[in-house]
């Protein structure tokens, strides 16, 4: 059985198909527990900043930009480190970014069509 499988992978390799037995191996080493804890602390700090901003008395576009900026940073940190997109095969990132970009484009067009970003 192993010989058959080896032969299969050799033939597949000859036509440019990667060896799937290497598929479960991470693209790079995943971070250590210490690094995860550091990211967790940064995420907690960003959340605290968000809450502080909401009570800071800032208003309008500045407040919205700062809150969305902090949320974006948290989002990116979780996706890159906790979900390992920084360390795994870049094709996973492409699939996910395609979904996010598609959704963002579609819904921004919907919101613009309804005039959400226009002054009342």
């Amino acid at each position: 059985m192993d010989e058959q499988l080896d032969q299969f992978h050799q033939e597949a390799g000859e036509v440019g198909i990667p060896d799937p037995r290497e598929a479960h191996a991470p693209h790079k080493e995943h971070p250590s527990a210490k690094e995860y804890v550091r990211i967790g602390i940064v995420l907690a700090a960003l959340t605290a900043i968000e809450v502080w901003l909401s009570y800071s008395g800032l208003e309008g576009a500045v407040l919205i930009a700062l809150l969305l900026g902090a949320a974006f940073l948290k989002f990116v940190l979780v996706v890159l480190w906790f979900m390992h997109l920084k360390f795994d095969d870049p094709r996973y990132s492409r699939f996910f970014v395609l979904g996010i970009a598609g959704a963002a484009t579609l819904y921004l067009v919907v919101l613009m069509t309804f005039g959400v970003f226009l002054d009342p």
């Binding site: 479960h24 809450v51 979900m83």
Partner: protein, 203 residues
Amino acid sequence: MATDYATLSPDEHTTTGLPNTKLAMWLFLASECLLFGALITTYVLYRGASVTGPYPADVFDIPFTSVSSFVLLASSLTMVLSLVAAEKRDYARMRIWLLTTAFLGLTFVGGQVYEFTVFYREGLAISTNLFGTTFYVLTGFHGVHVTVGILMLLSLVGMSWGGRMPDDSAFPVEMVGLYWHFVDIVWIVIFAVVYLIPTPNPA
């Protein structure tokens, strides 16, 4: 005789060199972006459009929801710590972190049920106004996703205890982790857009 590729199990080969399960999970998460994108867009679209109260400023308890957000973020950390333990084949520690993650998730869902109950008593039902409809549908869908995640975590713990985890125990933990972190990033957006960005009450 050439090998017939089509007769091999999908688990045994892949034309991409990536695990099919992981690829499918990422595609599923990409499709979930569309689902939650639609719900968040609907909330934003009808933001401040309710003609009767209660309005967001009347019911939101930001300190309470902030604590819930910290709890969900902490659960993402415990989830990756369970993956670290699984990668080291320290399955006892992996189960402890998985149970901690499930407990934190349960705390978050419990907080959401409490919040919904308080809002309902203050007069905000799903059909009261546009705010109620869009808010309950968006956060309710998210809560259901967290609940499904908790069931997945408990299933992993049960399988590990019963000795029914595959040899590479880190892989299923990583897959459930991807789903759990996705639920967390959706909440990051909801927390900022729904709770923290102030909604003006109609004059």
